[in-house]
Subunit: 198 residues, 2 copies
Amino acid sequence: MNRRVPSGAAVLQAGITAAITDAVLAELVERGYARLSMEGVAKRAGAGKSALYRRWRTKQEMVLAVLAEVSVPMADVADTGTLRGDLRAMVSAVASWLTEPPFSRIIPDLVAEATRTSELAKAIATTIGEPRRALTRPKLERAMARGELPADTDLEMAQDLVAALIYWRMVVRQAPVEQDYLDRVTDTALRALRAAAD
Amino acid sequence: MNRRVPSGAAVLQAGITAAITDAVLAELVERGYARLSMEGVAKRAGAGKSALYRRWRTKQEMVLAVLAEVSVPMADVADTGTLRGDLRAMVSAVASWLTEPPFSRIIPDLVAEATRTSELAKAIATTIGEPRRALTRPKLERAMARGELPADTDLEMAQDLVAALIYWRMVVRQAPVEQDYLDRVTDTALRALRAAAD
């Protein structure tokens, strides 16, 4: 056990980081992005404001770092070896992310806030959207390589399709969703993408 | 000119209704649904609160009546005689509604609010969503009758597709949208719906 244990003011204690992460998510659910404050997060986390500022320079940076840390790994689903299997797994993963707490509350609030602040919209795309898409894009590229998708497939549209149908019906419309809805989203996307019949 | 002119306290003057409508939309853009108040709307409209309460019993009823009055007619696009033409017109109409002021601000805010209040979500569906869908559904039914769509087409999914792709990319992601994006949404929907080749 020769591992050097770091020490001093620069050390970021994992326990405190975890408490802050929980506090950020809880404040976003309860108060929303606009009313969340560094003070409120620090108080809820049982930490000093300096503990927050050692980690992130601004509220926006803190919120997006916390959201990315939880949101990005949720897009990392296992390969199934078929386009249908991979798309179905992506559909399930997106549905869990967008429709279950805490994100079912947090994301619509953040979207509303981002319509007022284009800088926030760009930062969300950079820290959450793009890393999530980078995780699923190789699955679609492999489907193209296997001949399951045409070589000229619009991969951005393919990724949009999965999330769009879930967000519109389940989040925006809050329509009753039948048991097999996620299967039907998958079938719809496969047809839209001109996938080879399977 | 024998038309009887109504008079008395029960008369709702059109000029005042128009001023209140403008005030509701402006307050929704500037303050959002949660912070909008009957007082604020009355003040901005230059009307008394009683003028509001003569028309609507609650804030929710007032806001949804005003939004429906403007939003529902926007879904009423002319028949083109072909499924492709009708879908393309629906796509344009939905894009104008969701992505241009004032609704580009109002709708994401209302969606966020509705995730906290299921009664509001239901009222939005009843007063805005369902009347809008009722206007476009006959176009899809005529396409089925003409043989352009399979007889077992999922019409709810067909209507979702148009709005979902626009809302996700242009409102949620705020991604750069190419000139031909609305054409590509139309093509994607036609393929997803297994439309007869045209």
